[in-house]
């Protein structure tokens, strides 16, 4: 009887041990053919593969990547610590990369190539991250129903737009970064009053910029705040898409600009390959990287795509970009206080 118990137990232990062992075979497959590999965690996934393929063709360095949302990848990187397989973290917004840098998972990089290509206000002072492309969060309105759209973020709170406004929920980094920029630029009290005035307009919250554009086109709302590049995608499909962009606050701080970023991880297994990738993205790959998503290149000397250039020049609030992460927690708290969905 005792023996049988023991046999039973050892059998289960054995099986229990075999299962993970069987799984382990696939774990962290090493580079094929011994070639160099750079591992990327990316919160941005528009056309990223073609860009990486181009990089591989140019340098012979393979890129393997996993996608996810910015905050989740940030938390994963923090949890993995010294054992992370990631060489590079790429995010779709500045605040999350700054929070990652604050947590110590991004390493400072000194690169003349990067410092030359990327303007000072588009990279962190300590070199932990660099912007690769810019995009504006703008006011959009129906071309059919709106003659004089709001010209400033403050004007979006005008009671004239009550029941006619669409916004993205506060759970999304785009909303958080916009409010962080308002806090940085206007001070907390003014920002709170402004965001509260939006909420007073009883906005319809839609958790997708594409759907926000479609809602404006369909007449669900007349005015909304959304990222510029979605219009690029929609205009590619339908050049007559009935939504127009207004560059906000052109007489003031300028439109809220956020960036796609990249940084090298503190514990990168392949920091040299990672640096090659960043430098390539900031130079030879700049145009391809930005055009893939109808964004503005971080390097101002590189031309944006034609469809983007057609929207005309604008003044962007770039000074505040490196501080978005600093104000993000305050932004989240503010959004909660004013009852923003």
């Amino acid at each position: 009887m005792k023996t049988s118990t023991r046999t039973f137990l050892s059998a289960t232990v054995l099986i229990g041990a075999l299962v993970p062992a069987a799984c382990g075979d696939d774990a962290a497959a090493p580079a094929e053919g011994g070639g160099q590999i750079v591992t990327v965690y990316t919160g941005r996934h528009y056309g990223i593969e073609a860009v990486f393929d181009e990089f591989t063709a140019a340098t012979g360095i393979e890129v393997r990547f996993t996608t996810g949302k910015d905050p989740e990848l940030r938390e994963r990187l923090i949890a993995e610590g010294a054992n992370t397989p990631a060489d590079v973290l790429m995010t779709a917004d500045a605040a999350n990369v700054e929070l990652a840098a604050d947590a110590g998972v991004l390493a400072p990089v000194a690169s003349e190539t990067l410092d030359t290509a990327i303007p000072t206000e588009l990279r962190s002072a300590d070199g932990t991250w660099f912007a690769l492309s810019r995009r504006a969060r703008v006011i959009i309105s129906s071309t059919e129903r709106v003659d004089s759209p709001p010209m400033t973020y403050a004007a979006v709170g005008d009671p004239a737009w009550k029941g006619k406004l669409c916004l993205r929920p506060s759970t999304h980094p785009y909303t958080q970064s916009l409010v962080a920029s308002l806090i940085a630029g206007e001070g907390e009290a003014a920002a709170e009053a402004m965001v509260a005035s939006w909420v007073d307009n009883d906005p319809l919250f839609i958790d997708s910029d594409t759907d926000i554009y479609n809602a404006v086109a369909a007449g669900e709302c007349d005015v909304a705040i959304a990222n510029s590049y979605y219009l690029g995608r929609l205009q590619t499909e339908d050049p007559a898409f009935p939504v127009a962009i207004t560059w906000p606050d052109q007489d003031g701080r300028g439109a809220h600009v956020n960036v796609s970023t990249a940084g090298i991880t503190t514990n990168a297994p392949n920091p040299t390959g990672a640096l090659r990738l960043l430098e390539w993205l900031a130079t030879d790959g700049q145009k391809m990287f930005s055009d893939a998503n109808f964004e503005f290149p971080a390097d101002p000397s590189v031309e944006p795509a034609d469809i983007v250039a057609a929207w005309g020049p604008f003044k962007g609030d770039t000074a505040v970009i490196v501080r978005l992460g600093e104000f993000q927690p305050a932004a989240v708290a503010l959004l909660s206080r004013v009852g923003y969905e």
Binding site: T5, A29, A79
Partner: protein, 526 residues
């Protein structure tokens, strides 16, 4: 039988403790933060969103549980009490929504109703609840159905002979006797609603589980998020107590049990009503969504969007099968081991089993981060040579799935093994069979249906699981839900349709296996 330590049972205890610790560790590391509460964040939450979150959570859980109990029990009764053309087919098909993830049903109905209702009206807690009822009622249905099947027709006959109308007989005799099963199904539903993060976000419903992610990912404040998660665990544990209380000590014995409830033939108007109700639910929960998905998928085919940047459809299917397969095997092995060891160890054994099942009460993303923290700590010790790391490995992902779904396997297997008549086991033992032999040759074969039911439930759940998969998938493994998520987060329904349909397609044989086992008397919960 004695409670507590006895010499000679050391290895069993040790194994049980190890399993419980390994399974509870990821939840424990997250909940640990409560020992050092950040009162400031807590106060701020309390003054702002927390009351709303609690209201939304309670409302949603109440609506969905009520809805699933009414729909699930009602349908189970229709297909067990009435005989009509197509009854058998209907009774099987009514189980199929379990294979459709809530987030898929959610985006299909969101898009379908957006036109007629308007984008504002469509984003409501009511529609969210309706969608969740549509995808979760099978949990109640399957338990109620198997409970009704096991009831003797004689009880109804007696009630009828005492002057009860058919409905009164059902309401006063049949339902009360099925109450333990219905309560168990409802508890599962409540747990799924408490931890849902995919569907609620679609409809702008702000639950506590959603709040955990909101706080964590919005501010990077893991401690504050963990405190919210702890609230969720408390809610889940109280739910379990409520369910136990509702169930009470109810153990109904039945005269001539195991002969299925006698079905009454219905024709004409009544048959029409029964059919309309049954097929109507099926239309809403399965037919309309599947038709829309198929139409989108055809469009995707035209546009050449039947693959992703990571690989073609077959690659994603293999990924999904691999993850669900390993997770199911692991859950079965560990669950069975726990059942056999724990039952001889009284209260402590039960407590350790419950500890190991804690992950079921915690939202997926929280489990995922807990697993990453735990595995990263193990990786840092470098217990094994070379470059083998658990974080980012398939083993890590499977581990997280087991943490999340072990409860289902453990409950199902435990209930079915518990049903094996003690006399059979005693006879085998008297005849000299060892414990292992009795377990493998007598008890498990007798409980086979229950084991299969548990396996299919785990497989279906791990096939649908989104947040854990998203956060933990290793390189080269891209299960279908990740593809769905990537497409739906950009509102690209056409792209999302192909992987969504594949999840449903893979789920269908599993549903069939589940039905097969339920028809053979599988107990799905204890």
């Amino acid at each position: 039988m004695t409670i507590g330590w006895r010499p000679g049972r050391g290895p069993g205890w040790a194994l049980l403790v190890v399993v419980a610790v390994v399974m509870a560790a990821p939840v424990a590391v997250i909940l640990w933060s409560i020992t050092d509460p950040s009162t400031e964040v807590w106060r701020e939450l309390w003054q702002t969103r927390l009351p709303g979150m609690i209201v939304d959570t309670v409302t949603l859980v109440t609506l969905v549980v009520t809805g699933t109990v009414i729909v699930g029990t009602g349908l189970a009764w229709l297909v067990s009490a009435y005989e009509f053309r197509g009854r058998r087919l209907l009774s099987w098909l009514l189980m199929t929504p379990i294979a459709i993830p809530g987030y898929v049903l959610g985006f299909v109905w969101l898009d379908t109703l957006q036109g007629p209702l308007g984008a504002r009206a469509v984003r409501s807690i009511w529609l969210c609840a309706a969608v969740l009822v549509g995808s979760l009622y099978p949990y109640v249905y399957v338990f109620a159905w198997s409970a009704f099947r096991e009831q003797s027709p004689r009880t109804v006959d007696v009630a009828r002979s005492l002057g009860c109308s058919p409905f009164a007989a059902w309401w006063r005799v049949v339902v009360p006797m099925a109450r333990p099963s219905i309560a168990a199904g409802a508890a599962l539903v409540a747990m799924e609603v408490l931890t849902d993060v995919g569907t609620v976000r679609l409809f702008n419903v702000s639950t506590i589980a959603d709040g955990v992610l909101r706080v964590w990912f919005g501010t990077g404040d893991r401690d504050a998020a963990a405190e919210l998660a702890a609230l969720l665990v408390v809610a889940a544990v109280s739910l379990i107590f409520v369910e136990r209380a509702l169930r009470g000590r109810a153990r109904y014995t039945q005269a001539g049990a195991r002969s299925a409830t006698r079905a009454r033939s219905v024709t004409g108007m009544r048959a029409a009503v029964v059919n309309v109700v049954g097929w109507g639910v099926l239309c809403i929960a399965v037919a309309v969504p599947v038709v829309r998905l198929v139409r989108w998928a055809l469009r995707a085919q035209q546009l050449g969007q039947t693959e992703t940047i990571s690989g073609d459809l077959a690659f994603h299917v293999v990924s999904s099968l691999k993850v669900a397969g390993f997770a199911t095997i692991a859950c079965l092995v560990i669950g069975t081991t726990m059942v056999f060891i724990a039952r001889e160890r009284g209260r402590w054994g039960a407590a350790l089993s419950r500890l190991a099942s804690l992950g079921y009460a915690v939202p997926g993303p929280v489990v995922a981060i807990g697993v990453i923290v735990t595995l990263a700590a193990v990786d840092r010790r470098e217990w094994w040579p070379g470059e083998v790391l658990l974080v980012g490995s398939l083993a890590g992902l499977v581990y997280a799935m087991v943490v999340r779904f072990l409860a289902i396997a453990h409950q199902g297997i435990g209930a079915s093994v518990g049903k094996v008549t003690p006399a059979v086991v005693a006879s085998a033992r008297t005849l000299g069979a060892g414990r292992l032999r009795v377990a493998t040759r007598v008890e498990l074969p007798l409980a086979r249906a229950g084991v299969i039911a548990a396996a299919t439930l785990v497989a279906i759940d791990s096939l649908k699981e989104l947040p854990v998969t998203l956060l933990l998938r290793p390189f080269g493994v891209e299960p279908l839900p990740v593809w769905v998520w990537q497409a739906t987060s950009e509102s690209l329904w056409v792209q999302a349709s192909v992987p969504s349909l594949m999840i449903v397609a893979i789920g269908m044989p599993l549903v069939a296996a589940l039905l097969w086992s339920v028809e053979r008397g599988a107990e799905v919960v204890s």
